[in-house]
């Protein structure tokens, strides 16, 4: 069940201020309704890219880090490329679902100017490095911190991906379990033919 459907049925069975209602019978009866809701509105409502007012069409905040291969990771150095800046963590299952697709995109669209950059929001760098190797990520990944998170308006939930054009401007923000096909369509329009 996706989040939007979840939210929809929770709204339906519970009131405020009392805690969410314990109504298993209602839940069972409303199964068909939930299914329909999920089919009709779930995907579109939860997965549309939301661009922040503060960043949209403005310069992406600059940062310099050291990546997991001990190389300097300077966002400014990628000017001229379309950057997909992905905030992730090892405890974020949705982030790990996205990773193989990111690896494929880097291989497929790298020659056309796409550069994926990963920023781990893990508390423990060792866990992040382990997953980096396990997933065979073919793009630079560095550790983030609360300062970098706040620089990007607060990374208060994952996954979170920013699309930055070749001029360094933020074109879109994809928050939560995004529709990867939509992301692909969006960045393809910015790539070289």
């Amino acid at each position: 069940m996706n989040q939007a459907t979840n939210e929809a049925w929770r709204r339906g069975v519970s009131g405020i201020p009392k805690a969410i209602g314990n109504a298993p019978c209602i839940l069972r009866r409303s199964f068909a309704v939930k299914l329909l809701l999920g089919l009709c509105v779930g995907v579109s409502a939860a997965q549309s890219p939301v661009a922040t007012t503060s960043f949209l069409h403005k310069q992406a905040p600059q940062f310099v880090r050291t990546d997991f291969e001990n190389r300097k990771l300077d966002l400014r150095a990628y000017r001229g490329k379309v950057v997909l800046l992905d905030f992730w963590a090892t405890w974020c299952a949705s982030c790990q679902i996205e990773m193989p697709r990111f690896v494929a995109w880097q291989s497929q669209y790298g020659p056309r100017g796409l550069q994926i950059i990963g920023i781990s929001m893990d508390d423990d760098p060792a866990l992040a490095r382990k997953l980096y190797k396990k997933m065979k990520l073919n793009y630079p990944v560095a550790m983030g911190d609360e300062r970098l998170g706040q620089l990007y308006g607060g990374v208060l939930g994952l996954p979170l991906t920013y699309l930055i054009d070749s001029q360094g401007n933020v074109q879109a923000r994809f928050r939560g379990e995004a529709d990867l096909n939509s992301i692909e369509e969006k960045f393809k329009t910015l790539l070289r033919p």
Partner: protein
């Protein structure tokens, strides 16, 4: 059907009526063996169609059965879905609780990522360690050991979508195991940013 139209229908001769029920492209002109070939074609077409319908029905039934099983199967251990619905608290409800409770304010604990907590958390809340890690559960246990088992506790995380949160379920289970009887979990459908901070509810940074 009116009497007039009925009369018209019964006056149509047999070949004409046959041509009315023929599927275009499937039957020959009525004549020698025309009816037989029509029946044969109809039979072949019917079998194929029936097979397709049967396959579709089986597929639909299996899909429904899988959905139904997922619906009624117990939530996996550790999932936020394992928390009883009666113990969930909506953000609006927590705000009201904080505004109305004077004497016995709830103890609010964040049991997810410290990096998220340091960026923004509910004012007055404490960081209690990630519920998905043994070290986090131990940290939670140490913090809670001396407290009254009747104390109102509100747990929250908001690291990721509710159905993916690895932290709340184990933390909630631990507190119940320790004997706490008044434990609530803040229901954040998507994450802390979308369901709390972006809605204008109070946050503060810091450790």
């Amino acid at each position: 059907m009116s009497k007039r139209s009925h009369k018209l229908f019964i006056n149509i001769d047999l070949p004409a009526r046959r041509s009315m029920i023929m599927v275009p492209g499937t039957a020959r002109e009525p004549g020698t063996n025309g009816l037989n070939s029509l029946q044969g074609n109809t039979m072949k077409f019917g079998l194929a169609e029936r097979s397709r319908i049967a396959a579709f029905l089986i597929f639909a039934f299996l899909s429904f059965a899988v959905q139904l099983r997922a619906q009624f199967a117990p939530a996996p251990a550790g999932s936020a879905f394992s928390i009883p619905e009666a113990q969930l608290l909506k953000p609006e409800a927590l705000i009201q609780l904080l505004q109305t409770t004077n004497k016995d304010k709830p103890l609010i604990l964040q049991v997810g990522s410290h990096m998220l907590f340091a960026q923004a958390h509910i004012p007055g809340s404490e960081y209690a360690g990630p519920g998905s890690q043994p070290a986090g559960i131990e940290q939670l246990q140490i913090r809670m050991n001396a407290l009254s088992r009747k104390k109102l506790i509100v747990l929250y995380c908001g690291c990721c979508p509710w159905n993916r949160c690895p932290n709340l379920g184990p933390a909630f289970a631990k507190l119940r195991e320790m004997g706490f009887t008044n434990v609530k979990a803040l229901y954040l459908a998507n994450n802390f940013g979308a369901d709390w901070a972006d809605k204008g509810y109070p946050v503060e940074p810091g450790n």
